[in-house]
Amino acid sequence: MTNDKIIEVQNLTKYFGDLCAVNNLNLNVYNGDVFGFLGPNGAGKSTTIRMLISLIAPTDGNIKIFGKELRINRIEILKKIGAIIEKPDFYGYLSAYKNLEILGKLSQIDVTRNRIMEVLELVGLEKRYKSKVKTYSFGMKQRLGLAQALIHDPELIILDEPTTGLDPQGMKEVRDLILFLSHERKKTIFISSHLLNEIELVANRMIIIDKGSAIVEGYVNDLLNVDNLKVTFEVKDTEKTKMILQGTSWLNKIESLANNKIVFILANPEISRLNKFMVENGIEVDAIIPSRSLEQYFLNITEKGF
């Protein structure tokens, strides 16, 4: 990651009639970021993304992408962006292959059969490339959505809720793909979600918005305070556990103890060390439950839940 700003949003505002969907939003995405764009449903995420790719015009404010004003350099900028916006819609009466061929041509690239098949393989649809898209399941369409976003090998990938409607396996595959694109292909990725863990698992930086306004922006690790995690250990024998922990430094890290649940405040690497300590001392651990730190964080700053 470098300090080159890929996306620079200044005082972005969008009104639909009297409704303020996005209010004076500022954000920066740097080269190589996997940038999480987090907020509850109706927070203004999709409206912001639609403005980033010129589907809708801002009421006020400025968007710079790759250092250039979007309003003036739209075509040049869009050549280097791949995007999935909300649900994956395609020309259902055409095959996946033909859809990608058309979209590749519209992206002004020399779209070859090899390139189309390479992208379809990347998202696991190579065996169904001839099938009409209307025969695809939602999950398959979502993966085809990723394929169309990647067909022209963009530098910036914008994903609006890319795991919506996917089963756990599908969600994991998308996450793995995002990490692959970030680590191996060095893409900058802007991903929106209302799912906290999704952002935690892939993003290095993030912004939380609510009611169209930014609440906080920063590094995920800083915001989550990974040195101060709340972790619940469920044990078979609480009394025995207390005795064993007596005289160790772990005792000071206990926040609360009720029934067979002991809540510790731990740094991330300490979780596995404590687990090892317990197992070696004959404490039967039924479960280790880390608290939803981001959720906690969000609740703290907004006093409301997702």
Binding site: I56, D89, Y91, I102
Partner: protein, 279 residues
Amino acid sequence: MLTLIKIELYKIFKKWRTYIGFIAIAVLVPIIQLAMLSEGERSLDFMTRNLQQSFVFVGNLLNGYLISYIILNSLVVHIPFLITLVAADLLAGEATAGTYRLLITRPVSRFKILVSKFISGIIYTNLLVLWLAIISLGLGVFIFGVGELIVIKSSSIVIFPKYDILWRFLLGYMFASLSMMVVASLAFLFSSLVENAIGPIVSTMAIIIVFLIISAIDIDLFQKIKPFLFTNYMSSWRLFFDEPIDISKIIDSTFILVGHIIAFFGTTVYIFYKKDILT
């Protein structure tokens, strides 16, 4: 631009609804021709009954040219509906399918997207009229043969010798295409306003019917409006079957129809440029 037009044409001709117009013409026109084959002589006799007291008609008057002329007269009401089926879907269809997002997020200007779609719609319109010409004139001549064309007007009767007819049909069909392009442009304009093709189809047809009614009612106010209604010029292809041909009338009609196309398309561009894509 050529790539965009090719893509749009590919999309149009991959849709089932595109072929409804071609199939409808391929079915309806031969039905009319078959009906004329059995009943045509009697109909022609009825049409010319007043003239038979003064003239003697000889030769093959019930020929392919007459059949084609009669069928072309139905253009005003029926063919526009077939045109709107596709033209109304050009933009609204993308909104319905949610594929506007795919199009607009590509590095292509909105203007180019519009122009490519519009041109594709115009190509479809011309192909449909060409198909009508092939079926009605081609098949008509094949079944009924050729002969003089008798054209009965409100105050006159014109009989064209068979060597003087084909070029009139050629220009007549070209003019008919122009008037159908106005219909396509109007449907295209409505298509940019909504997210479902049904609305533009109904709206376009409603406007055509209302304008035709206004043109037909003999009230001073309506007669003043009439020259500004594009429907008033949709039958101007008949001017090529006048003798002598009134060139200035044809030029005026052409300008008015082209003006409508430019106005409808210009309005579409304005709307589409301002449009927030929310589908």
